[in-house]
């Protein structure tokens, strides 16, 4: 286990660099700060918005709007090694949905969902809301079915 931990670290570094690279348009090891959340998510983490802001505060270069790999790499490695933003399992997501679905209908009305998403927690922007509704509202019944919602969000290539 000891030897592989060294390999793990170098593998982690490679993963982080690979994700960083996609957004490094000027090929100078910097990315726009606004892309950081995408990069963190793509590395398998589930931070809240507050987590992200905190992270950015640690790594941003004095309000230049850019983040350099030199600072991102160690901070992100720590996040991954310590599993700071662990993923949310499907069951938990299901239950979260059930909490919102007070009458246990098995679905939510678009207005209900909109209210929750834009007023509670870490609110969505209008754009985010529109995209969610467009993607997940059943066109015939005009509601968001719990099961479909979760299934769709799980369809992505991993590994």
């Amino acid at each position: 286990m000891a030897e592989s931990s060294h390999n793990d670290l170098s593998e982690i570094h490679k993963k982080i660099k690979a994700a960083f690279e996609v957004f490094d348009y000027q090929a100078n090891n910097t990315v726009d700060v606004r892309e950081i959340d995408t990069i963190i998510y793509s590395l398998g983490c589930f931070p809240t918005q507050a987590d992200i802001h905190c992270f950015i505060g640690q790594v941003e270069e004095d309000h230049t709007g850019y983040i350099h790999l030199d600072r991102f790499l160690p901070a992100m490695s720590k996040v991954l090694l310590e599993n700071k933003f662990p993923p949310i399992s499907e069951d938990v997501l299901l239950q979260a949905f059930e909490v919102l679905d007070k009458e246990n209908k098995g679905y939510l009305e678009p207005e209900e969902l909109t209210k929750y998403m834009t007023q509670e927690g870490e609110p969505f922007s209008q754009e985010e809301m529109d995209e969610m509704l467009t993607a997940h509202t059943d066109p015939e019944k005009n509601c968001i079915f719990c099961k479909d919602f979760i299934d769709k969000l799980n369809l992505e290539p991993d590994k």
Binding site: A18, V22, D37, Y41, N83, V92, L100, G121, E131
Partner: protein
Amino acid sequence: MGCGSSVATETQEKKVEIDETVKTPSPALTMKAAVLIQRWYRRYMARLEMRRRYTWNIFQSIEYAGEQDQLQLSSFFSFMLDNFTQLNGNGPDLISQLLDPVVDPWLDKETCYSLIQVPQSYTGPRLSFPLSVSDTNALLSAFKEQQILHARYVLLLLYETKKLLKQMPNIIHVSTSYTKEITICGDLHGRLDDLLLIFYKNGLPSAETPYVFNGDFVDRGKKSVEVAILLFAYLLLYPDYMHLNRGNHEDHIMNLRYGFTKEVMQKYKTHGREILQLFQDVFSLLPVATVIDGKVLIVHGGISDQTDLDFLSSIERHKVKSALRFPRRSLEQLDISQYCRQAKRMRSTDGSRPSSSRTHSRNQRTPNQSRKRQCGLSRQDSAASTSSSSSSSSSSSSLCSPRTPSCLSPRPCSSSPRMPYSVNVLQVPFLDSLSSVPLPSPPHHEQEWKQIVDILWSDPKPQDGCSPNTFRGGGCYFGPDITQRLLLQHGLQLLIRSHECKQEGYELCHSGQVITIFSASNYYEEGSNRGAYIKLGRELVPRFYQYQVSRTTRKLTLTQRVRAAEGSALRALKEKLFAHRSELMAGFQQYDQNYTGRVSVSEWAQVLESVLRLDLPWRTLRPLLVRLAPDASVQYQSCFEDMGPGISLPQVTPNLAETLFRYRTDIEIIFNIIDKDHSGLISIEEFRHTWRLFSAHLGVAIDDSAIDDLARSIDFNKDGSIDFTEFLEAFRVVHKLDTKDQQYNEKRNGEKYSCGD
């Protein structure tokens, strides 16, 4: 993944809370639930965005790599013209006829067009010159109804356009003082739907609605002819309110590869060649720049440190028929160091080898050195070296040597004839005749050519300086300082250009001094990008209007669009892998001496990048391309698994098949040129001869008996002729896993054209 225990605890906590509260969850719980869903959703969207980005990268890389190949094709044509006077007894006229046609006096007389008969059954527009609004309206309706304009009217229209353009200067000066606002559009690339949408949203060209179209009207899209006809028709109708700039695709050699030539030939079987000839003339007569109110410069590509608008105004633009027929002397100056194909994103300031870690890991130097000895395309001596350190003003060469085909690397060049570098007798490819004419002063001529190529091919870059655009193979990368200097020099405040596809249809750079405007939506794939246009009023503050043409009425979600685009991009990428299979395998086996079939992820990524040179995020793409073994190493053969050739030709060795597959576009072009009567057939002798030439030029060691076997096996009817459509079919790649999608795509892309003559 993730820590099992903490999630379980959270789950349990949740459960307990829910049981307690039954039907009325506490506000805190509601908030917690909302946050969870939002978090999850944002992550999902972020991953989608990631996929969208690299999908974009794939499309762009392949597109620009394709443009480099184009250069290779044109150098092949030059090679053929220089070295082989006989092509089956038809002489160089065969090739040159299409590339540098002899001026046929017949073609310049308009009476002969009027002699062309139009059948009674023709229900399309019958234009009368000078054009009126009813003519342009008729064209609009006809094209909306999928009609084709009869060849007679196409020829007359082009002839009139040519006459008009001859009177125009290189740089058009426009003023906003008489009009409300000028609309500026970017690349259309044969997308009639986008053009019609712009006209619909913004209004038809008129005195109140003047337009500037910034080049690249043709190629790639299926309606290039219609787009060009409409633009020229409006130009004839409103020469003061309609302005067209030349783009790098208004070039007959580019058209050979990117579809315009094919479209014309298929729509106009009888008069196709004449129409192409006229298009060639019209294209070279298009102005190269437009200036609004003396303050806003509009060009298709960009600028270089050599760009001089006064000089540009003075040259004879029609002499530069094609950016790809470069003056002979430039070839001498091509330095091997320019083979190093810098990644599009890596534009180093002084042009010297970029020192970032990415380049080092790619080991570019060693393969290039060996190529330098093998390939006869450029001089060894660096005396005339225009080194890639081109920040100094005088030495930036505008044309970079074509990327060496990677098939050269493991094998030595077979006895390919060297290109003769006779400086004394200069072929003049720009003039209409093929005779060798002593040029007044070669350097001056080159400078003129360079001015135009820079304008049509350059791209902006974030760093200061000016370096050769090795990615595209022509023009420069120009930095903010170059922009600043030029704008100051000429009292300008803004540069508007096109040439690059942008996801939002437009993009600003160089602190807002440069705007890229691109008007072909869904350029790479359904949903890949928006199109946009600019409106500019007297205050010269640009306003942007975006749109996206959608084939389906239902609005696609981002997920659906990304999936569609990703599928398409991956297919294209896999074909690239397939086309370089033997090299890739050789690369993998270097790391896998024990033939385990596995290499590490890093090694895999390294091999891919060194062979394909697409500068893509291979590690991120890995899950989509190849399988992992249980020990997390890559099973490198799995990336070829779900693909195969269309038809299996038993006599064909895998190596030959791969080469043919890789160059099938080029081969198709060559066949189309040889097949003068458009029968779709060429003789076996012609095939053999052409293939020998091509492979000699590429330095591919294919022996004659293999060619003969191939030719014989393709001659299905055993009648001495080859149906090359069938032949090319064999070298398409079939993706075994998604035949349904494939068939759909084929249907979309392989539309049969109806005939217009």
